[in-house]
């Protein structure tokens, strides 16, 4: 149960910022910058961060949809970081993704049956003549009515479309699913449906999730562990129960403080972070967070902090995490 399903070793996903006619690009957009992380079998790992910090790119890098610049990705012990399209084929079925916009992720000219069979084709355990039966089974699994199998995606509501996307991801019999902001485009009530469905399926089918979102309350509800991303780097990982009560990185606290409280009389000011999201092509020196940090010292400007383990499955990337922890300034009140 506790062995890592996916091991990321110093992965970098850089996109060229300028394209010279000859030679290599001189500046890069470092969407994922030196990230090392384990995703443990059977867990739901959350990934939070501001928009544009590289969370989606990281999810897509793990699935090898975004180009990997350097680093190693190990899936079930096998190194898949160097494999080409052909070499990846056996792993494609084991890793799937559900996208943010369900409408755009279903081909409008294909019936639900076709969409599901296309994915089922990767599942070698299902024979071709059983595709229809399998599709019915999948729809039943995501609480949709099997009668709708010959309908087109536009005949469904957003929540139903997202459940079709989940069914497609399940069709290949995967071990690992990335949910890329999968609930952000949905109504709150529909969000709850999809999330409960996700949790049920995880228990039923022994799945491992990477749940990318910027919604902290959903994170706390769904995920067992949460990783916080800032400017292409993972700055903190902790169990979701303790992360927001006892954060170890100043940025995690700032994130939690920015969540509005649904009580007009609480009298608490929103802690809006000063400054701007750093440019990924030209991040600040040293610790990327230092221009916005309340506790910065000279060393923060000069040196990038090392990733330090704070527990069995938790880590933090800050020069002063021990000191801040002792002073207790980050604790959520």
């Amino acid at each position: 149960m506790n062995k890592p399903l996916i091991k990321l070793e110093q992965i970098n996903t850089w996109f060229p910022d300028n394209k010279p006619v000859f030679g290599k690009p001189t500046s890069w957009i470092k969407a994922v910058n030196d990230v090392s992380l384990n995703i443990i079998e059977g867990e739901c790992l959350g990934l939070v961060g501001e928009s544009g910090c590289g969370k989606s790119t990281m999810g897509r890098t793990i699935l090898r949809l975004a180009p990997l610049y350097s680093g190693k990705i190990k899936f079930m012990g096998d190194d898949i970081s160097k494999s080409d399209d052909k070499g990846l084929k056996p792993y494609r079925a084991k890793m799937q993704m559900v996208f943010q916009d369900p409408k755009a992720s279903l081909n409008p000219k294909m019936t639900i049956f076709k969409i599901l069979s296309e994915a089922t084709a990767l599942n070698l355990r299902v024979a071709k003549e059983n595709y229809l039966e399998q599709a019915v089974k999948l729809l039943d699994l995501v609480d949709l009515r099997p009668e709708h199998i010959y309908r087109y995606p536009h005949e469904f509501s957003g929540g139903q479309q997202q459940r079709i996307c989940v069914a497609r991801a399940l069709a290949t019999d995967p071990k690992f699913i990335v949910f890329d902001e999968a609930t952000s485009a949905l109504d709150v009530s529909v969000q709850a449906q999809v999330i409960n469905l996700m949790k049920d399926l995880q228990n039923k089918l022994d799945l491992t999730y990477l749940f990318i979102s910027h919604d902290l309350s959903i994170m706390e509800h769904v995920c067992s562990r949460v990783a916080v991303m800032y400017a292409g780097q993972i700055i903190e990982v902790q169990d979701s129960g303790s992360l927001f009560d006892t954060p170890r990185h100043p940025y995690t606290k700032a994130l939690k403080n920015a969540v509005p409280i649904a009580d007009p009389e609480s009298g608490k000011e929103l802690g809006i972070l000063k400054g701007e999201v750093p440019k990924l092509s030209d991040p600040p020196s040293g610790c990327h967070f230092h221009p916005r940090c309340d506790y910065k010292e000279n060393i923060c400007v000069e040196k990038s902090p090392k990733v330090r383990k704070t527990g069995k499955n938790s880590q933090v990337k800050c020069h002063f995490h021990e000191e801040l922890w002792k002073r207790g300034v980050l604790r959520y009140t």
């Binding site: 699935l63 084929k89 943010q100 992720s105 409008p108 294909m110 019915v136 010959y150 497609r168 290949t172």
Partner: protein, 299 residues
């Protein structure tokens, strides 16, 4: 568990039955549209008349071009229902024989233009690399010449006659399809379902033909139907210049041009083939429109 597997099988069977009912329902929807049905009937009759011209035409030999000078420029009468032309040939027979070249020729032009243009457009839209750029430049090169002019030049070089006229028209015609499809493909390529297919490990060719092609087909079908009319006219234009259909034979465009000098006195010579052209083009449009609606505006 066995019971559950069984019930999935049952459900699957039921679903198939329902689907067959639905297909029948789609056909019924088409039958309900009177204009579309009428258009379909007109198109089928025209094509049948063209195919079986020797049996349908009242004067087959005149339709093929045998002169009948003593009856020249007769207005419509019981002997020749649509009048006779400048050489005394029966207009009805001429129109029926003319349909052969006009319909077949325009269908050929549009079909081959799409057959060449659409795959190139798909490829250029999906691959933004060197091959895509090369295709784009070639398309621009072709589009920079006026298409009529290049068709005239090509048929002069290749030789006269209606088969070469068709080839001469396909050459400047296909780039329009490439350009249309390339633009569409470029936008569809960015949709998430393309990424989803890539994630399933499907290759370029599969994605182009199974995902992008069905999504560009609607504008392509509309363009094909709209192009059939201009294609009939374009063949007629080349024929008028002596480069296409050679005079004893007939095509609708040629006949319109033939009647043009006498349009004020002997109006039927131009109006009859013109009317035939008009009818067929409108029928194509109405039918195409209805088909588009019924097959689902799935966007």
């Amino acid at each position: 568990m066995a019971i559950q597997e069984n019930s999935y099988q049952m459900m699957a069977k039921k679903v198939v039955k329902e689907h067959q009912k639905q297909k029948w329902f789609q056909l019924q929807l088409l039958l309900k549209r009177k204009a579309a049905c009428l258009s379909l009937i007109i198109l089928v009759l025209t094509v049948l008349a063209a195919v079986f011209a020797p049996w349908v035409a009242p004067y087959p030999e005149q339709g093929q071009g045998v002169l009948n000078i003593e009856n020249r420029l007769q207005p419509p009468s019981s002997a020749s229902l649509l009048g006779t032309d400048i050489y005394g040939r029966d207009m009805l027979s001429r129109v029926i024989y003319g349909a052969r070249i006009s319909l077949f020729g325009s269908a050929c032009i549009v079909f081959f233009a799409a057959l060449i243009g659409v795959p190139l457009g798909l490829w250029a839209g999906y691959n933004e690399g060197i091959s895509g750029a090369v295709i784009s430049r070639v398309v621009e090169l072709f589009l920079s010449f006026p298409s009529t002019l290049s068709a005239i030049a090509i048929s002069i070089i290749v030789g006269v006659g209606w088969p070469t006229a068709i080839i001469a028209l396909i050459i400047p015609w296909w780039p329009w399809y490439t350009r249309l499809v390339q633009g569409e493909a470029l936008s569809i390529k960015r949709m998430l379902y393309i990424e989803a297919a890539q994630m399933l490990g499907y290759g370029k060719i599969y994605i182009i033909f199974r995902h992008i092609l069905p999504n560009v087909m609607t504008p392509v079908i509309v363009m094909i139907l709209l192009d059939l009319g201009p294609a009939i006219i374009a063949i007629g234009l080349l024929s008028f210049l002596g480069l296409g259909t050679q005079p004893p034979m007939a095509d609708w465009g040629l006949m319109v041009w033939e009647g043009a000098p006498n349009i004020l006195s002997e109006w039927w010579i131009s109006i009859v083939p013109g009317g035939a052209m008009f009818m067929v083009v409108i029928a194509f449009n109405i039918f195409g429109d209805a088909l588009k609606d019924i097959l689902g505006s799935n966007r």
